[in-house]
């Protein structure tokens, strides 16, 4: 069965999970038609970017058992690669391509260096090393304002074919104008789809199984003949490259990049939360978690406003539901989900299906 092969023989194994994944797939595939508004489409694009970012982090955390805080650094490298190339040079496909390739090479070298020098140490020390490197990189990015635009970041232009003013058809289809923006969204969509399928293939390859063995019992993996450092290093390099591509997607969509947009520690924490909520060690979990998180982040405030207005008769409840409290509620949702679904959404759904 071709679908089976496309999914690398890692089917969802739960009817509910299949339904959720299909719904998300259709929502994202048809987003420009379902929600043509600028804001709604941006939410969908952000979801696509986070799917790649989170899934690549899951390769590291969920499959290999490596705790790294430097993941947003690679995200930032991708975004800065595009931003710097396109703001210094003309807005051509060539500069865009050069920016992407340079970013990928830089990420590869950095991840390789971090991996070879520090993956031999214990997990907790590795986590601290990555934390230090990520902070150093963030400081560097805001200090080198000549190149990076400092705290203000960089606004830049992309090739005209991607601009929202560039019309491919004179008449809109189903009320949607077929513009450069429309094209950009579908570039993001197919890039995300291809990368998720690639990650699914990697984690289900003979290599991916060794990663899981290392996560489960590093000592034994070494004892049956696997060079653990080599596998870990390859895993962290791959994960860094995918994160870089997520950064490229971000820059393509925003046409802007700054330290807060791609390098902030807040994004790192979000990614960590999403992996746990979705279910560590399942690429599907990253997909579901990322979409849910981005939607919650974008619409929880609106939802709370509705609730707050409805509860205006009860001042204390209205105050609690004030849109400003959205972070509090997100936190509550997170604590509840970790408490009730320790194996994440996907783990929970698969367990349920296995018991039926």
């Amino acid at each position: 069965m071709t679908l089976n092969r496309l999914l690398s023989n890692d089917l969802p194994r739960s009817k509910l999970l299949t339904a959720v994944l299909l719904t998300l797939f259709l929502l994202l595939a048809l987003a420009p038609f379902i929600a043509p508004g600028v804001n709604a489409l941006s939410v969908a694009a952000k979801a696509l970017i986070f799917i790649v970012l989170v899934a690549s982090f899951d390769l590291l955390l969920g499959y290999t058992g490596i705790v790294s805080f430097a993941h947003t650094m690679f995200f930032g490298i991708g975004a800065y690669g595009v931003a710097i190339a396109c703001s210094r040079w003309d807005a051509t496909w060539l500069s865009l391509g050069l920016g992407i390739v340079t970013a990928l090479i830089l990420s590869l070298l950095l991840a390789l260096a971090i991996g070879l020098f520090s993956l031999r140490v214990r997990a907790i020390f590795f986590a601290m090393i990555t934390l230090a490197i990520a902070s150093a990189f963030q400081t560097l990015a805001s200090q080198l304002s000549e190149i990076t635009g400092g705290e203000d970041g960089l606004n830049f232009r992309l090739p005209d074919m991607l601009a929202s003013g560039y019309m491919y058809l004179e008449q809109p289809i189903f009320g949607v104008s077929i513009s450069g923006r429309f094209l950009t969204y579908y570039i993001l969509f197919f890039a995300a789809l291809a990368m998720v399928l690639a990650l699914l293939r990697i984690v289900n390859s003979p290599f991916g199984r060794v990663l899981q063995a290392i996560r489960e019992n590093e000592f034994r993996a070494e004892a049956i003949g696997y060079r653990v450092v080599v596998y870990r290093t390859i895993s962290s390099v791959l994960s860094a490259l995918f994160a870089t591509m997520a950064g490229v997607m971000l820059a393509l969509w925003l046409r802007y990049n700054g330290p807060d947009t791609s390098l902030s520690f807040e994004i790192m924490l979000d990614v960590l939360l999403i992996v746990v909520i979705g279910g560590m060690g399942t690429i599907y979990g990253s997909v579901i978690g990322a979409v849910l998180f981005v939607i919650a982040q974008s619409y929880l405030q609106d939802l709370l406003k509705l609730g707050s207005d409805a509860a205006s008769g009860l001042p204390w409840l209205a105050a609690l539901l004030s849109p400003d409290r959205w972070l509090l509620w997100l936190g509550v949702l997170f604590v509840l989900s970790v408490y009730y679904f320790p194996t994440g959404i996907v783990g929970r759904l698969r367990n349920r299906a296995a018991k039926l």
């Binding site: 293939r201 003979p206 060794v210 063995a213 003949g225």
Partner: protein
């Protein structure tokens, strides 16, 4: 005609010499039991051979190849298979996946010992078939899809042996393979160990406390005491020798001679 030999193998932890200049040869097709009181250095000696510890001095050679400077994983690839005293498996993977990982580690093929990133794991039929064959050998085929963490202790020990068999090593090292097993499970594991040297090419090393197990399996016993080799010979002679009676059995006869069924 030694397959495996250690020459002057020594390790010091600070001032303490845990294994002291142990020189010993192990011929193909033999099963050697290593006995000695607790703290005699048996497991440390094992760790030095399989590479979990690096020796302070001395060497380990397998088939005339010096392994002394190789890592544990490189020694495994060279043909040293090791099972551990405490069960040491991949707990959240299935029984089949555990064995298949060991098969994959041992065999070069299109999966290139796990460095293949772009094929689907379940497509490598030769790995799956071999893993199932081994599970049949240890009578665990019904458990293939169980998650290891949910297995009873005895099955986990059997799986340890199965993973060792999958490595297709030339030397197999067991550290108290029957520890903590119920009386009816012990013979099954002993049968599996016997099978491993059936073709007379493999060497088996066994650390074991239970004297009846040693008597039944071993064709040679070496005795370690305070890190030194103090006796070496066929089981009957070694067990009867005064040095063993004093150094080993004399230490705590109640515990040491208490084998299964004794």
């Amino acid at each position: 005609m030694a397959l495996l030999s250690t020459t002057g193998l020594t390790i010091r932890f600070g001032g303490h010499v845990a294994v002291n200049a142990v020189t010993c040869q192990f011929a193909p097709g033999t099963l050697t039991a290593i006995v000695g009181p607790n703290g005699a250095g048996k497991t440390t000696y094992f760790n030095l051979i399989s590479g979990q510890l690096q020796a302070s001095s001395g060497s380990v050679t397998l088939d005339d190849v010096d392994l002394s400077n190789l890592s544990a994983s490189a020694r495994t690839r060279a043909g040293l298979g090791r099972a551990f005293q405490l069960t040491n498996l991949f707990p959240n993977l299935t029984v089949l996946e555990n064995v298949r990982l060991a098969v994959q580690a041992s065999r070069d093929g299109t999966h290139r010992r796990g460095l293949n990133l772009w094929s689907i794991w379940s497509d490598h039929r030769e790995l799956t078939d071999r893993a199932r064959e081994i599970l049949n050998d240890v009578a665990m085929q019904d458990r293939a899809d169980s998650v290891v963490a949910n297995l009873p202790h005895g099955d986990q020990r059997k799986l340890e042996v199965a993973m060792l068999m999958a490595l297709e090593a030339s030397v197999y090292m067991f550290d108290e393979p029957t520890a903590g097993m119920s009386a009816d499970e012990v013979p099954k594991v002993l049968d599996l160990i016997r099978k491993l040297r059936k073709d007379k090419r493999n060497t088996v090393l066994l650390v074991e406390h239970k004297m009846d197990v040693v008597r039944e399996l071993a064709d040679r016993i070496i005795v370690l005491h305070n890190g030194s080799l103090v006796a070496d010979g066929d089981p009957a002679t070694v067990i009867a020798s005064p040095i063993v009676q004093e150094a080993y059995l004399g230490m705590a006869p109640g515990v040491q001679t208490n084998g299964v069924g004794a």
